[in-house]
Amino acid sequence: MPSRTPETRATSLFMRYAILVLVALIFVFPLVFMLVSSLKPSMQLLSDTSSIRAFLPVGDISLDNYTASFARAPVALFIFNSIFVTSVTVVLNLVICSMAGFSFAFLDWKGKDVMLSIVIATLIVPLETIAIPLLLVVNNLPWIGADGIEWGWLNSYRVQIVPFLSDALTVFLFVQYFRDLPRDLIEAARIDGASWFQIYAKVIMPISGPVIATAAILRFLAMYNQYLWPLMVTQSEQYRPVMVGLQYFFQLNTDWGQVMAYLSMITVPVLAFYLALQRAFITSIASTGIKG
């Protein structure tokens, strides 16, 4: 093959960057629109949508929409609820699913393959199909609290956390990652005298950063964006998360500036979390070929 000239190389590079910039803009524009709109009064926001001004912080710019959002709904409480429920769920989910993955990948027990098949098969069952039966179950479960045994879990944090402590996708991600690790490491640790739990905690988990980051981000997004389930199980405002809180802005008259301000505020934790784990997440996607 003839070698490429510097000109064709430059053109190819330019084209590549042009496409990447275009794709980046497609993803960034909605966020810019949201952020810019959150600073504008509703009337201006709607009139700007027909021009490039929709993406520019021009005209009557203020933080009024943010102030109004806080007056309209307990935004801080919703964000706290979401972050609390999501964080606790993600941490416990990672512990439980990684242990399950470890067991499927490294331990020998009867029925392991069948059990893994069943776990993976649950991937095709959407929450919507089991939401009603699940609601009936959690409504009749006991809980030992400060006042002794109580029945029914509705209107609580636990009802938003416990049903999501494990999930097939996270187990599957861990199983796949663990299976690719060299078995010699496990055997070296066994010869060193480590118990299975010590191998899990001291050998395997410390080298599983990429899959932990991937699973954490996927779980965080899924939990943070929950709408149907918390809507069904939290009648009291005290336990409601951000997505259910969005309803508060669509009652009576919808002020789009306030909606955008609220959306901007609830997007911040997601972005912060993603940026914190971005490097490990990309490493994992690149090395395992898992696409989100």
Partner: protein, 374 residues
């Protein structure tokens, strides 16, 4: 340190039996090399000693204690893996100290043992480094260091040099031999490389088809191979084979006949030979001479000449289609297509019966009784 004994040890994976009954006794402080071609079952055998594989049948004893059902950590062994198997997130120090930490050894003891191992292996400057910051040879030394700090009764090595380049392999081989001398520990070493086997072993176990084909010192295996497989496996280039018929059996030995060599009287014990038996004569290429200098001569056309400097490898094909290799003096003038003679002494010959089993040689060099280092 401890002795090790295997009695009728077998290993099956489902219906497939890979180890079909191995008996082996290893004395305290002995260096035993298990050698064999790929798939012969040498790694499963080592892993059964380590406790990483279950023993399907038979008994395994370490230091007089049956270990069949003991966990790897309770067997008093340490293993060096082919892939090194270093913990990538731990420093050299922590890699070596991991087993002691798990055993909850006092900090001062851990420190002393790790530093002593590092001193033996010249790893002191690298204790704070991660495995990825080390060269292949250094990683191998860390893997050996991790084994040393455990102060095991038996060291197990699973092809530890196969990931190293040729020069480093020679150095590390010498280091392992020195380590064995210094520690005086019992060591079992698995390899497919016969040079490693010959140079390191007090005793070699040649494994093939799930059986120990022969167990003996390197020189016993070389000079008195028990069968055709061992004869062909030990020694490089491989031993030449000539199909012969037993023409006469007498007190002087066994006279054999074949079209390419005529008749030759071999100093072989005649007990198990009978006139008319088919047999295989074995002769090592390094026992061949150029010309008609030794007793038995074979003529043929030169098909291959490989000059190695101090010696030359030649291959000839006789008119009957027999291929023979010989290692001759490096200064000999010889060209492809020439017709030439290779000869060998009757005393250098091996004879195998029709089942491939060796008949006893009467004239065996004194060196057969040599042990490593003598």
């Amino acid at each position: 340190m401890a002795s090790l004994s295997m009695k009728s040890v077998r290993k099956s994976y489902g219906a497939v039996e890979v180890i079909k009954g191995v008996d082996l006794d290893i004395a305290d402080g002995e260096f035993v090399v298990v050698v064999g071609p790929s798939g012969c079952g040498k790694s499963p055998l080592l892993r059964m000693v380590a406790g990483l594989e279950e023993i399907t049948a038979g008994t395994m004893e370490i230091g007089g204690r049956v270990v069949n059902d003991l966990e790897p950590k309770d067997r008093g062994i340490a293993m060096v893996f082919q892939s090194y198997a270093l913990y990538p997130h731990k420093t050299v120090y922590d890699n070596m100290a991991f087993g002691l930490h798990i055993a909850k050894a006092p900090k001062a003891e851990v420190d002393a043992k790790v530093k002593k191992a590092a001193e033996i292996l010249k790893l002191e400057p690298y204790l704070d480094r991660l495995p990825k910051q080390l060269s292949g040879g250094q990683r191998q030394r860390v893997a050996i260091g991790r084994a040393i700090v455990r102060n095991p009764e038996v060291f197990l090595f699973d092809e530890p040099l196969s990931n190293l380049d040729a020069a480093l392999r020679v150095n590390t081989r010498a280091e392992i031999a020195k380590l064995h001398r210094d520690l005086g520990a019992t060591m079992i070493y698995v390899t497919h490389d016969q040079v490693e086997a010959m140079t390191l072993a007090d005793k070699i176990v040649v494994l093939e088809g799930g059986y120990a084909q022969q167990i003996g010192t390197p020189m016993e295996l070389y000079h008195t191979p028990a069968n055709l497989f061992v004869a062909g496996f030990i020694g490089s280039p491989k031993m030449n084979y000539i199909e012969v018929t037993v023409a006469e059996v007498s007190a002087d030995g066994v006279k054999v006949a074949a079209p390419d060599i005529g008749e030759a009287l071999l100093p072989i014990d005649p007990d198990k030979a009978a006139v008319g038996d088919r047999a295989t004569l074995g002769i090592r290429p390094e026992d061949m001479r150029h010309g008609k200098t030794d007793g038995i001569t074979v003529s043929g056309r030169v098909e291959l000449v490989e000059r190695l400097g101090h010696e030359t490898l030649v291959e000839i094909t006789t008119t009957n289609g027999l291929d023979l290799k010989g290692i001759i003096d490096g200064t000999t003038l010889i060209s492809l297509g020439d017709t030439t003679d290779l000869s060998f002494a009757a005393a250098s010959c091996h004879l195998f019966d029709s089942a491939g089993k060796a008949l006893t040689r009467r004239e065996v060099p004194e060196v057969v009784r040599a042990r490593r280092g003598t």
